[in-house]
């Protein structure tokens, strides 16, 4: 620290930052980005291992391997569904059949009713009904203090997603098999939910008695103790090629790595190669192709984490500190080998036997990690340094600007004092030491910092309005006969436009009044960069993927922007900033999603489709915010949007 306290070295350091900050920023950004991406390469990450010794995965003999049990259940379930389809139009969960099946096994069986509606009168504020069916296998030797959950969503026939009937059948079969044994130390809850995430949210809310205005959860008639872990089954077929393991939860939360490893290990024990993001591990991880595959897997995982929407029902368990993953079936035509119910039940049973062994809640291993392959992981200790390097340019630039503002001020001050000195030579001669504190005063940031204050308040105010406005937009849009998603999208555009116009109007008014003041652009940029740095650091500790993508996209743009007299440069800057605006990012995200996931290539089809999915994404983020307490909408509107506005208003300040 002597480096900073010694005025000479301090001056040197300042000079270095001043002179080389652009090069430093560039180098840091490139190095950080490459380093981060290189983490997916096998030599740079670590092999997964079991941290919790109590899990003892795969040490017990499977008792549940019977194809016929699950097969019979599946046939009966399909018959039941066919019957109900004939009698009723709207297909809902066959709750009475499921209840009868679970009760017949001697489980404590209950049905939960719930009602949900969408916020701000989306879909006319209609209240939808749903039911969850669950049976509790009471562990004989304990007093119901702990429980583990096996859950499967019910999907009606017309659902765009894969059916889960086979998963429900497998679950019933496992319930029957588990019931025959007395070695269970934790209660096992078999839960079948309706309406995807909403059903599970209703059940979890009721279980923990946390009220939500939009998901009205009926009281549960029976409960077990504190939930320790959960496994979600999404199995579509009787014979599958492999399991795909989904783990990204709400707000980018991840389950404990030990649970993920357990699931992987037990799949491998059955000779089944598990996948992540439906990407198989490349046979030679050290080759370039291997790196490419690992990078793709890691980036897909980060993409799922970044938007904060859970990839399955398991994602909602994380908010209650319950570790959960989803086993999703993958069936490939002409696969070399298929796995039947027998192997699937062995996998699930093995996981449950391991969970049953746990003496404590999951607390070892990692909660913050990235997975480039099923057996490799990048821990928080590994990914934080490259991320820091990636975000370092923000700090460099902020410091450089700060120093140059102070230098300008002091040079101005010294100029002033020089002029003063010329006018009043007698005073200047009288006591030369008095000049120094005077110059110091001018350097004091307090004087000029106040000039940035109004802009910051304005931006935050717009952020607040962006957070509150959607509800009014949707209300207003209904008056014009627009759908809520259109209304919301138009609203978002108009919020952007108004917010974007504000600095321009202010500047024009200021020039009309002849006030050439306004914030110093260097100071404003410095403050904005610092604000952005704080935002990045804060998000990175919660959701690394989100802050990584934000840093990758924003850092080059915001480092470049500065007010200028050149119209061309200005136009380019406007475009760049518009592209990285929250709405722009959502649109770009939609385009990427359409290209990568949906494989749309025709630009004429792509762009309108992307706009449609942007609208849907906006609406979904608002709904998720209200129904599931997803932070993304609040975070973007209250934090990221104001930060972006600060950079936008930078373009309207007076260039030097």
């Amino acid at each position: 620290m002597g480096l900073l306290s010694n005025p000479k070295t301090r001056q040197k350091l300042m000079n270095v930052i001043l002179r080389y900050n652009n090069k430093l920023c560039f180098v840091c950004y490139v190095v950080g980005l490459c380093w981060f991406l290189a983490l997916a390469y096998t030599p740079f990450n670590a092999k997964t291992y079991f941290s919790e010794n109590a899990l003892l995965p795969g040490l017990v003999k499977s008792n549940a391997h019977s194809d016929s049990g699950a097969g019979n259940y599946l046939r009966n379930l399909k018959d039941e569904l066919r019957l109900s389809k004939e009698t009723r139009k709207q297909q809902s969960i066959p709750s009475s059949w499921l209840e009868a099946q679970l009760r017949q096994l001697g489980l404590d069986t209950y049905v939960q009713n719930f009602t949900f509606k969408y916020p701000v009168g989306i879909l006319k504020g209609h209240a939808y009904q749903g039911q969850n069916v669950y049976g509790i296998l009471r562990a004989p030797k304990t007093a119901s203090t702990e429980a583990i959950v096996l859950t499967a969503p019910f999907r009606p026939g017309g659902s765009p997603r894969d059916s889960t009937s086979a998963g429900i059948a497998l679950m019933l079969h496992l319930a029957k098999s588990f019931r025959r044994h007395t070695y269970w130390a934790k209660d096992i809850i078999f839960l079948i939910t309706e309406h995807e995430e909403i059903g599970i949210q209703a059940w979890l809310n009721a279980y923990h008695h946390s009220h939500n205005d939009y998901v009205l959860a009926g009281e549960l008639q029976g409960r077990s103790g504190s939930l320790q872990a959960a496994l979600c089954l999404e199995i579509a077929h009787e014979e599958i090629t492999r399991f795909n393991i989904k783990l990204e939860g709400l707000n980018g939360q991840l389950p404990n790595l030990d649970l993920v490893n357990t699931a992987m290990q037990l799949c491998r024990d059955q000779g089944m190669q598990p996948t992540l993001q439906k990407q198989t591990d490349y046979w030679d991880p050290k080759s370039y192709e291997g790196f490419e595959r690992a990078l793709k897997t890691m980036l897909l995982m980060m993409w799922n984490m970044a938007h904060g929407t859970p990839t399955g029902n398991h994602g909602l368990f994380h908010q209650y500190n319950v570790e959960a993953v989803t086993l999703q079936s993958v069936r490939i035509k002409n696969s070399r080998r298929y796995f039947s119910f027998s192997q699937m039940s062995s996998v699930v049973e093995g996981i449950f036997r391991s969970l049953n062994n746990l003496l404590e809640r999951f607390h070892q291993s990692f909660f913050f990690y990235l997975l480039p392959a099923t057996n490799r992981y990048v821990s928080i200790g590994l990914y934080m340094p490259p991320f820091a390097v990636l975000a370092l340019p923000v700090l460099f630039k902020a410091v450089a600007l700060w120093i140059s503002v102070s230098l300008d001020a002091s040079s101005q001050a010294s100029e002033e004092t020089e002029t003063e000195g010329k006018e009043k030579p007698s005073q200047a001669e009288g006591d030369p030491t008095e000049q120094t504190p005077h110059a110091e005063d001018a350097q004091e940031p307090g004087v000029t910092l106040m000039s940035v204050f109004p802009t910051c308040v304005l931006c935050l105010g717009f952020g607040l309005s962006a957070h509150q406005a959607p509800y009014y937009f949707i209300e207003a849009a209904r008056g014009f006969g627009m759908t809520p998603s259109e209304g919301l999208a138009l609203g978002a555009v108009s919020v952007h436009l108004v917010a974007m116009a504000a600095p321009w109007l202010l500047q024009r008014k200021a020039t009309e009044e002849g006030d050439s003041g306004g914030p110093n652009w260097q100071l404003l940029k410095s403050v904005s960069l610092l604000a952005f740095g704080i935002v990045l650091a804060a998000i990175s500790s919660l959701n690394i993927a989100m802050s990584f993508f934000l840093a990758v996209v924003w850092v080059p743009v915001i480092l470049l922007v500065r007010p200028t007299h050149s119209r061309v440069v200005n136009l380019v800057q406007f475009l760049l900033l518009l592209l990285v605006s929250p709405l722009g990012l959502v649109y770009i995200g939609s385009v990427v999603n359409e290209v990568v996931v949906e494989k749309v290539t025709d630009a004429a089809v792509l762009l309108p489709r992307a706009w449609e999915s942007t609208q849907a994404a906006l609406l979904m983020s608002l709904i998720n915010n209200n129904l599931f307490a997803n932070w993304t909408f609040s975070l973007v509107s209250l934090v990221i949007f104001p930060t972006w506005l600060m950079f936008w208003s930078l373009l309207w300040t007076k260039p030097l």
């Binding site: 001697g106 030797k141 044994h181 279980y207 209650y320 500190n321 003496l359 404590e360 030491t433 120094t436």
Partner: protein, 622 residues
């Protein structure tokens, strides 16, 4: 002379008779062994072993507790030494599910529970209690010694004496009562062994020979109990005797192994049969509740056929028990393997819940705040129920009384966010806890309306423990005691038979019809809770502590220095304080020299002072 002779004779005969009575009284004790078997509608079998020893001895006369016959000496000495009026100890594994199984003969919470009434005049109750739990702890191989002040309370209403007492107890003062529970206490054979040593025949003979640890501990519920109390010897209660009842309850599930059939036999349930009776037992009886045979067409037949089937009324329900006198069945070295065969496999159906049952759970998420909610169900169609609800919450859950909310729902509770009609407690007793000293203790008297669900909720804040206070498995969580609900059930309660007040024997249920028509007392224990506290990462304390301390140590000083210090540029041409002083030095020196010639020591001092000032100056400018 004659009158005096007559008087002397009378006196001596009185003395003789008294002595005689005393010496007879010394062995006026009885032992009864009983086994009660009740098939439950959920396919479980409830078995309850009841060993009752009554001893006609005056409780308060300690000198009579010197000669023992059937009463266990080990326990008798302890009870006498610590002036115990009543003692109730249960050690339980598993949870009794009232909703499905109805009420047991003796209710017990998971873990250990002990409540003791001391005799009036016991000088220092707290000290006596501490001594007693330590003795009992050693005696039953249980960690009862953890029942210290941190989790002992003195309940006001929930625990009244169960046995005969004089008038003193009718006053509300309960300073002679202590109650504590250990929800985490595990029960195993190490507790069973000392428990069965208290029996006159041990587990060598009689129904106790069925105790097979492997089978007994592979059950859905298992509870050991010791209940000691004074009881009346006659109907007028002019004298009292003491009664020790040792209970062992087990709920087994034969359907798991019998392909869905509820058929059971002693051999299947316990792996053993009864071949003998305890020779000192006055009665050895097996009771099988066959009431359910009359109710539905899901019936069982007993083999061998019972001696008698007794019918009796309790409230409006007619109950019938099949009675086996084991002595008859084991004559001529026969073996009794009582078995029951059902006419069909079990079909599980929704079981009608009892009149009063409670479901308790914890609420909230995260590791800072939380709550406890109890749902009290009164399913009686027309009668309100007055219940006493007692909650003992450990000190590390800071509970707030102002968050206590009691809502009652007579209609259906549509969703969890809805509020019912607020129910005002009839009486409330609350003792706030103190950190590391005493638990939070709440007792409420509530009137539950007919056909209603009452929701009782309370919020708590989790304390951060000192790091040495965490157990080795800190991430397992911390247990909270069961809540205790006491109530008098209405007289038309179906399917519940309580043990009568005057005797703990099961045969007393059948005999004393006159006192049984009325309301029955019931004591319920709810689920225990497992609560997570904010827990530091104990898995790598070394790394974390070392790294964090190093970083703080390195960074703090310099950053503090940098951020608080004011930097001023010094004009190199300006004369500093040092230079000024130096300039003055020759002048000073000359003055000194002028005043004190040859005083060289003074000079040295002067220079020293200057030197110090010098360093001070350099520090300030650097």
């Amino acid at each position: 002379m004659a009158p005096s002779m007559g008087l002397r004779f009378l006196l001596s005969s009185i003395i003789f008779i008294t002595l005689n009575v005393c010496s007879l009284g010394l062995f006026e004790d009885e032992f009864h062994e009983e086994l009660f078997i009740k098939p439950l509608p959920t396919g479980h079998i409830y078995t309850h072993f009841q060993f009752t020893t009554t001893w006609e001895v005056e409780l308060r006369r300690k000198d009579e507790f010197l000669h023992y016959h059937l009463f266990p000496k080990a326990l008798g000495e302890v009870l006498a030494k610590f002036s115990v009026q009543e003692l109730h100890l249960t050690l339980t594994q598993g949870l009794w599910r009232h909703e499905k199984w109805g009420y047991p003969l003796v209710d017990a919470p998971p873990g250990a529970e002990l409540w003791v009434w001391f005799q009036p005049g016991t000088s220092n109750v707290n000290e006596t209690w501490t001594d007693l739990i330590n003795v009992l702890s050693g005696m039953f191989c249980a960690s009862l010694n953890y029942m210290d002040a941190k989790n002992t309370v003195c309940p006001k209403l929930s625990f009244r004496p169960r046995g005969a007492t004089s008038g003193w107890f009718s006053k509300t003062s309960t300073h002679l009562l202590r109650y504590a529970a250990l929800p985490r206490e595990n029960v195993c054979t190490e507790n069973l062994t000392p428990w069965k040593k208290l029996l006159p025949c041990g587990s060598k003979a009689g129904v106790a020979s069925l105790f097979n640890s492997i089978k007994l501990y592979d059950t859905n519920y298992h509870s050991l109990g010791i209940h000691f109390r004074p009881v009346c010897t006659n109907s007028d209660c002019t004298s009292t005797s003491v009664e020790l009842s040792q209970t062992l309850s087990a709920v087994l599930e034969p359907t798991i192994f019998n392909h869905g059939r509820q058929d059971w036999s002693l051999k299947k349930l316990f792996g053993r049969m009864i071949g003998t009776v305890c020779p000192v037992a006055q009665t050895s009886t097996i009771f099988v509740d066959v009431t359910s045979n009359k109710m539905s067409n899901y019936q069982f037949t007993l083999n061998p056929a019972p001696n008698t089937v007794e019918n009796f009324r309790r409230g409006r329900t007619e109950h019938s028990y099949a009675i086996y006198d084991i002595r008859q069945f084991t004559e001529r070295s026969r073996v009794l393997d009582l078995s029951a065969k059902y006419n069909q496999a079990i079909t599980y159906s929704q079981v009608a819940p009892p009149v009063l049952y409670v479901h308790r759970f914890q609420t909230g998420s995260g590791r800072e705040k939380g709550g406890i909610v109890s749902l009290l169900h009164n399913t009686h169609p027309s009668q309100d129920l007055v219940v006493v609800y007692m909650e003992v919450i450990p000190w590390f859950l800071h509970t707030y009384l102002h968050t206590l909310q009691v809502d009652t729902f007579t209609a259906e509770m549509t969703h969890i966010g809805i509020n019912g009609t607020t129910l005002k407690p009839l009486h409330l007793h609350y003792v706030p806890g103190k950190d590391r000293q005493r638990p939070y203790h709440l007792e409420l008297v509530l009137r539950l309306p007919a056909k209603s669900v009452t929701r009782l909720s309370m919020q708590f804040e989790r304390a951060l423990l000192k790091w040495t206070e965490y157990p080795p498995d800190a991430n397992h969580g911390f247990y909270v005691n069961s809540a205790v609900i006491s109530a008098m059930l209405p007289d038309d309660t179906a399917d519940y038979v309580a043990l009568p007040q005057f005797s703990a024997r099961i045969s007393a249920i059948l005999s004393g019809n006159e006192s049984l028509s009325g309301r029955q007392f019931v004591n319920l224990h709810t689920e225990t809770l497992l609560v997570m506290l904010p827990t530091p990462d104990f898995s790598m304390p070394y790394n974390v502590i070392c790294l964090a301390c190093t970083v703080v140590a390195i960074a703090f000083g310099s950053i503090h220095n940098l951020t608080t210090r004011r930097f001023t540029a010094v004009d190199p041409t300006a004369k500093g304080l040092l230079a000024k002083l130096k300039a003055k030095l020759p002048f000073l020196r000359r003055k000194k020299e002028g005043k004190e010639k040859g005083a060289s020591e003074g000079e040295g001092e002067g220079e020293g002072v200057l030197g110090q000032e010098d360093t001070g100056q350099s520090e300030a400018t650097s």
